[in-house]
């Protein structure tokens, strides 16, 4: 239908104006806020950023260093400031955003966050949050970023990214996907494991029916350095289940602070808070 409209002078004018405003007429012809059709450079961002990251592999035994943050939702001005600050950090290899990329689960919001984060000099990776699942957000996240559960190995560390937003599934007993999580944790080819998700297991938005299974699986993993979350918008570190497993929570973008995580040895790590 659009191609037929294109010959109209008025349409030419409108599409020129739209392009000048920064969007092509195709993206502007939004069918619904839940419409997740995205321009080429806003699709499969997880895969694209992983490709960028893995193009610069970290040699074995080298120190790993990454920026840890979360909850970028509707904090675009803060995102701009965060990018400027992170770009001044030396020796960081990538950035992790612990979910709630969007506030309303809309693809456009995910584009807006990427508009800022693609200015980083390092690649960034995300895990899905509860706000990213509002309405048809789960589909939008899948389109703009990628799988809701995925893992990657960088240097000596396997990063396991999983969906723990049980409330968004009406606590159906299947979130997080424990067979998948166990399979990932059983990978003994990598020296260290780090598991990252949005809702922490001690939170009331985590499915209570899956909590024990999750916490038990983590406790049983000898390679696990720590578990990391977002959702609470503020930094914390502790062992809420008193079982030797450390849980780290990220600052939200609005808190104008982020963490630099440094890891070496079997399970050695250091956290540095950086205000911006």
């Amino acid at each position: 239908m659009l191609s037929r409209f294109r010959s109209q002078p008025l349409l030419t004018y409108v599409s020129v104006a739209a392009t000048a405003l920064g969007l092509s007429s195709c993206e502007m012809l939004e069918f619904s806020p839940n419409d997740h059709r995205s321009p080429d450079d806003k699709q499969a961002l997880t895969q694209k950023n992983l490709t960028t990251l893995l193009a610069k592999p970290l040699p074995a035994n080298d120190t790993l260093r990454f920026v840890y943050t979360g909850d970028s939702q509707r904090f675009y001005d803060d995102a701009e400031a965060l990018v400027k600050s992170v770009n001044q950090q030396k020796g960081v290899q990538f950035m992790l955003v612990a979910g709630d990329i969007s506030d309303f689960g809309l693809a456009r919001e995910m584009w807006w966050v990427d508009d800022q984060l693609r200015k980083l000099t390092i690649p960034y990776l995300t895990v899905i949050g509860n706000h990213d699942q509002v309405g048809n957000g789960r589909k939008a996240y899948g389109e703009v970023f990628g799988p809701l559960n995925y893992s990657f190995v960088y240097g000596d560390t396997k990063f396991i990214m999983t969906d723990t937003n049980g409330r968004e599934y009406n606590f159906n007993g299947r979130i997080p996907d424990m067979p998948w999580v166990r399979q990932q944790l059983q990978d003994n080819t990598v020296r260290r494991h780090v598991i990252i998700s949005h809702v922490p297991p001690q939170d009331e938005d985590f499915d209570p029916a899956v909590r024990d299974a999750y916490v038990t699986a983590l406790r049983a993993d000898p390679r696990l350095v720590f578990e990391m979350n977002g959702h609470r918008h503020d930094f914390s570190i502790g062992q809420p289940f008193n079982d030797g497993v450390t849980y780290v929570n990220s600052y939200a973008f609005e808190k104008r602070q982020y963490l630099i995580v440094t890891m070496w040895g079997d399970k050695e790590f250091r956290l540095k808070k950086v205000p911006f």
Binding site: R4, V14, F31, W112
Partner: protein
């Protein structure tokens, strides 16, 4: 544009046939024609004046409906039913929209054409069929402060009309319009992030046809 134009025109024409047959041209209407004034349409108040077909604007890949003209045809209220297939939104969506517009200026463009350079207004829409719709008891009250289904937003656009008449001389214009619009959530995002977001980021475009009948 032609097939859509024809479809709209065909739909617009068919209901007028019995109307004109039942009420043939009267001497009164002949007089008004000779003086160049528009003859009065004597239709019940509840009968819609035009049909609408639209794409985009956040209210459907295709949205169709009817509309009313008020206050010398400068105000219009359209009721639309929109559809978005699963492929584009993750689930099949039905969207009901009420849109009110005001077009203060009507400029003739030769004999057959007419331009309304400015249309301003707003809409209220309700979406049915989202994947993760709030189920009873899913969230505590106020967990998400915004509605996932109800949107409101402003529209701003222009319209180009082709002036047609029935055999009895009554106007039956067919108009093409475009509108730029936004919604409450996009506007809120922009207002709170004036540095990182631009107005262009929050705009959507709609293209539509309106045919009197």
């Amino acid at each position: 544009m032609a097939p859509q134009f024809l479809l709209a025109a065909a739909l617009a024409c068919s209901p007028t046939a019995p109307d004109t047959a039942a009420r043939p041209a009267t001497p009164d209407s002949l007089i008004t024609r000779s003086t160049g004034l528009e003859p009065l349409d004597k239709k019940p108040w509840y009968r819609p004046r035009h049909i609408v077909l639209q794409t985009g604007g956040g209210i459907g890949m295709v949205a169709a409906g009817v509309g009313y003209s008020l206050g010398k045809d400068k105000n219009e209220l359209d009721i639309l039913l929109g559809y978005v297939p699963t492929k584009y939104a993750g689930s099949s969506l039905s969207i009901v929209t009420a849109k009110y517009t005001y077009s203060p200026f009507v400029l003739p463009l030769g004999e057959r054409w007419q331009i309304r350079p400015l249309t301003v207004g707003g809409y209220l829409s309700y979406t049915h069929g989202t994947v993760n719709d709030e189920e009873k008891g899913q969230y505590a009250k106020g967990y998400y402060w915004f509605s996932t289904d109800t949107r409101v937003g402003p529209v701003l656009g222009s319209r180009l009309a082709y002036r047609r008449r029935t055999p009895a001389g009554q106007p039956r214009n067919v108009a093409f319009y475009y509108e730029l619009s936004s919604n409450d959530l996009y506007i809120l995002s922009y207002v709170q992030n004036r540095k990182a977001l631009s107005v262009g980021d929050i705009l959507t475009l709609s293209l539509g046809l309106k045919a009197d009948f």
